[in-house]
Amino acid sequence: MMHCTMDDLLALRAGEASVWARKHIETCAACRAELDAVYQRVAQLKALPALRPSRDRWPVVRDAVRAERWRKRQTWGVWSLAAAAALAGVLLMRPNQGALHAELAQAKQQSATLEDELQRYDVDGRVLSGRAAALVADLEDRIAVIDGALTSPTQDAQLVKLWQQRVGLMQQLVTVRATRARYVGL
């Protein structure tokens, strides 16, 4: 007697079996038992206990994300310096464009300068207290949020505001780093 193959049994389970297989399973106890075994195996697989990692991988993920953000910020710094220089050039050519563009250029210039200053403190290598590290992480997160907003199309006035906020946060970041560097004598 011909029996269902495993392909037939899985097709029966999926409701895609051939007419022959559907008729056969109704009359063959052995094949019904095989199909039942398939269901049981799957149920047992689903019931296996959840396996958990032996190590906490979040610190590695967090540090990698921070390092990526830092690299992005450095890139931003270079670009903002170039953009500020270009804008200054445009303003010289078109003096009537107004104070908004001047403010924008100034904020970008300040931001770039602060990025350079921050690099002097060797951001990833310094020892920080827990409190200072938390403060730095918070400031870096807030800067990352602003950087995210700066990638979206924004009106000039809003752009100036975002860049000025960025400069404010960068100044705080530099202050924390500089204070810590003086304190530990590095």
């Binding site: 398939v38 697989l45 991988r57």
Partner: protein
């Protein structure tokens, strides 16, 4: 393993804005299901931990692209499955093994012995384990598995049938009419 985890929208919104605490909360919420999926597919705990790490790095990088359509777990699970399958493919390329090759059983185990299902499952090839786990446990369709693996639907179906036939033999179930 069933994951019925509801994540508040506000947490996702904060994670999208780059909030570190929110990102860590997402990690904590999904680290076990992601690791479990990776561990069931990958051969070693170290590989599974690497998949966990790569998955969440991708989640952090791409969270802004998540549009809230469907459960967040579905989105994260797809990233995890893709990372695991990429790693398997890379390892197979390095070892120059064909994708559907059955592995040699681990020392001390014999085909046909009455071993438990978990151990029998571990004896399957990487590809077979992936197809069985994604289809039978995670609920992926053959079409979805084919897309994830860069293979055809019939490849996925035949892998599943071969894997079940092998599990049946290893569990010593092939004593009757289907032996």
């Amino acid at each position: 393993m069933t994951v019925a985890l509801a994540v508040p929208d506000v947490l996702v919104a904060r994670a999208k804005a780059g909030d570190q605490a929110a990102l860590e909360s997402l990690f904590r919420a999904f680290e076990t299901p992601v690791y479990n999926l990776a561990r069931r597919i990958m051969r070693t705990p170290e590989d599974a931990e690497d998949v966990l790490q790569e998955t969440f790095l991708e989640v952090v990088r791409s969270i802004q692209q998540y549009r809230g359509e469907g459960h967040l777990w579905g989105w994260i699970r797809r990233i995890a499955a893709t990372k695991a399958l990429m790693r398997i493919r890379r390892d197979q390329l390095r070892a120059a093994e064909p994708l559907d090759e059955e592995p040699v059983g681990r020392p001390g185990t014999h085909v046909g012995a009455n071993i438990d299902l978990e151990r029998a499952f571990e004896q399957l090839s990487d590809t077979s384990r992936s197809v069985v786990w994604l289809h039978d446990v995670e609920g992926y369709t053959h079409e979805e598995i084919a897309e994830l693996m860069g293979k055809s639907v019939s490849f996925s179906k035949s892998q599943l049938a071969r894997a079940h036939a092998r599990l049946r033999r290893m569990l010593g179930e092939g004593q009757g009419a289907h032996a």
